[in-house]
């Protein structure tokens, strides 16, 4: 990719990050934000209230960073799966991670787990769900794509049913609304602590995917063909599935169910940078990060009551996707 494009890929998200720190329901003047951000590095005497500092550094900054990592993570996962399944209509949920995570979170909320308990349980159940799918799909030393998809459908349906079960028994005055809103998706609960829990798996998974970018290209030609070019397809698929699951389970555990990001962003990115995963994966990270960051800004600022993230991404993502489909007429040029 051209030099200018690389620069843009790094600068645009950073610029979006800075802008996001300026907006919010609590008024903090732009100049003050800049000074608060600079204060750990430069000797600036504080002329702002402690509340403002808490808002910028403890509430807005962690939340914005989390939005970027979740957006980047979901996008790179979607792109990798679309390559692996050779199908541009695939999203990271296809192997059941979202349904399983959602159930884990609901279970924890039902048992009155604190924020950490909910995140941990959601994460572990997400991994469990994909593990089940993988085991179910394993046929004699290989994991054919069709088996993965079908197993994913089965596992997702199973956990969805369990999730409905938790909603059925939940106390309608406090637990049920908590579960409902959690499932709709929100970055409301982001703290420095949840950031510390979610970032390592996301980064680990993303690094894993980046390392196999070229092999993903070859894998997208088909299992047999990739095998003939020397690729251990079952091993590569295992690496890809493990990496994306780390990312998506972590993302869902801190953010709830946010759809349409892992599906739309890879498409858009592919239209701009082409199908070569060496450029596609990093670009998807960059675009995904910026996208979710801006959407979350709207979610937390547009009205006094938070708009659930999942609703916004669907309301924005689905029509946009329809537009993309019309524009490309189904081809990926």
């Amino acid at each position: 990719m051209r030099r200018a494009a690389w620069f843009a890929m790094i600068l645009v998200p950073l610029a979006a990050l800075y802008v996001s720190l300026l907006v919010g329901r609590f008024y903090v003047p732009a100049g003050t934000v800049a000074r608060i951000l600079a204060s750990p590095f430069l000797p600036i005497s504080p002329n702002w209230s402690a509340s403002m500092e808490t808002i910028v550094l403890q509430i807005r900054l962690p939340r914005a960073v989390m939005a970027m990592f979740v957006g980047a993570g979901l996008s790179i996962s979607g792109a990798a799966y679309q390559g692996m399944f050779r199908n541009p209509l695939v999203s990271p949920d296809i192997l059941g991670v979202t349904a399983a995570s959602g159930f884990g979170a609901a279970l924890a909320l039902l048992c009155s787990g604190g924020a950490v308990g909910v995140e941990l349980t959601a994460f572990l159940f997400g991994i469990l769900g994909v593990g089940l799918t993988y085991l179910l799909a394993r046929t004699y030393r290989s994991t054919p794509v069709l088996m993965l998809v079908l197993s994913g459908v089965v596992v997702a349906a199973f956990f969805s049913a369990l999730l409905s079960g938790t909603k059925y028994v939940a106390d309608p005055d406090s637990k049920l609304p908590a579960i409902t809103y959690w499932l709709l998706g929100s970055l409301n609960g982001t703290s420095a602590q949840s950031l510390g829990m979610a970032l390592p798996p996301i980064v680990l998974g993303a690094v894993g995917l980046m390392m196999v970018r070229w092999r993903l290209n070859v894998l997208s030609m088909g299992d047999e063909e990739a095998g003939s070019l020397g690729i251990r397809t079952d091993r590569l698929k295992a690496v890809i599935i493990a990496s994306t699951t780390l990312i998506t389970a972590a993302a869902v555990s801190v953010c709830g169910i946010v759809g349409w990001v892992g599906l739309v962003i890879p498409h858009l990115t592919r239209m701009w940078v082409g199908p070569d995963h060496r450029a596609l994966l990093p670009a998807a990270c960059s675009i995904g990060a910026t996208y979710l960051l801006l959407i979350d800004d709207v979610a937390r600022t547009a009205s006094a009551s938070e708009i659930p993230l999942g609703i916004l991404t669907a309301v924005v993502g689905a029509p946009f996707f329809a537009y993309l489909l019309r524009k490309t007429q189904g081809a990926w040029q």
């Binding site: 050779r86 290209n217 997208s220 030609m221 003939s228 082409g274 990926w332 040029q333």
Partner: protein, 257 residues
């Protein structure tokens, strides 16, 4: 490539057995047979994609079954009949994929790899499609690009499964020309074909897989005749020849009676 006593069984169904043959560098072995006689299966066994039920395949002296997939890919390249490309990679990208067996576990192709790929395209007269999307090329151009890829893979043996299927007449000729060029560069080639005429086009032998599951190997001029073709295809086919002025050799072709 040396094949000894190769046999393949699918469930209880014997596809072929006791096959013995050699293919040396620069030689083209044309495998002929009716649909369903096991040509593709044989090819897959030679590629190592399917495991033989009995017998062995050796390439450059090394047992194929003992090689891991990367080592295998450096020795054998195979083009399948069904080919699906979902994403619009450029022709250069596709050819560069041939270098995959030589990359490290997490590596990407280097500048040299890309140059080698571009060079191959140029050598085979395909430079003009280098940057075009593979999905936009015609069927014939695609096949040629894939053949380029097999070349870049620098294997000892190239296996081709009905390479001229789905091609129009012109592209069939171009494809067969390129196969000849590949052989001339010292690669051993095994190709399956539905058209017995192909056996006459290349320097090398023919393998006829007959309807009774037996196989006949030999020079085309010797083994391809009315009787053997009838045993292979189950219809009455005659072999004809046309003399041409020297130094051109006699032209042979098959046609149903």
């Amino acid at each position: 490539m040396e094949v000894r006593r190769a046999a393949f069984k699918y469930a209880a169904h014997m596809i072929f057995e006791a096959l013995d043959f050699d293919v040396s560098a620069g030689e083209v072995l044309t495998v002929l047979g009716a649909n369903g006689c096991g040509k593709s299966t044989l090819l897959r066994c030679l590629a190592g994609t399917l495991r033989l039920s009995a017998g062995s395949v050796r390439i450059s002296g090394e047992e194929l079954a003992g090689l891991d997939s990367t080592a295998r890919a450096r020795k054998v390249a195979i083009l399948f009949q069904e080919h699906q490309v979902t994403f619009p990679f450029s022709a250069l990208d596709i050819v560069t994929m041939g270098r995959t067996p030589y990359l490290s576990a997490f590596g990407s192709p280097s500048a040299q790899d890309r140059e080698a790929a571009a060079h191959a395209l140029e050598e085979f007269g395909l430079l003009h499609v280098k940057d075009r999307a593979y999905t936009e090329l015609s069927g014939g151009e695609r096949q040629l690009v894939l053949l380029c890829r097999t070349f870049v893979q620098q294997p000892a043996v190239i296996l081709l499964d009905e390479p001229t299927a789905h091609l129009d007449f012109r592209n069939q000729v171009r494809c067969l020309d390129m196969i000849g060029m590949l052989a001339a560069r010292g690669v051993a080639i095994v190709l399956t074909s539905h058209d017995p005429n192909h056996a006459f086009l290349f320097p090398g032998r023919a393998l006829l897989m007959q309807l009774d599951r037996s196989a006949v190997i030999g020079a085309p001029s010797e083994i391809i005749n009315r009787a053997s073709l009838t045993a292979t295809y189950g219809i009455d086919v005659g072999v004809f020849s046309i003399d041409r002025p020297p130094p051109a050799k006699k032209l042979s072709f098959c046609s149903p009676w």
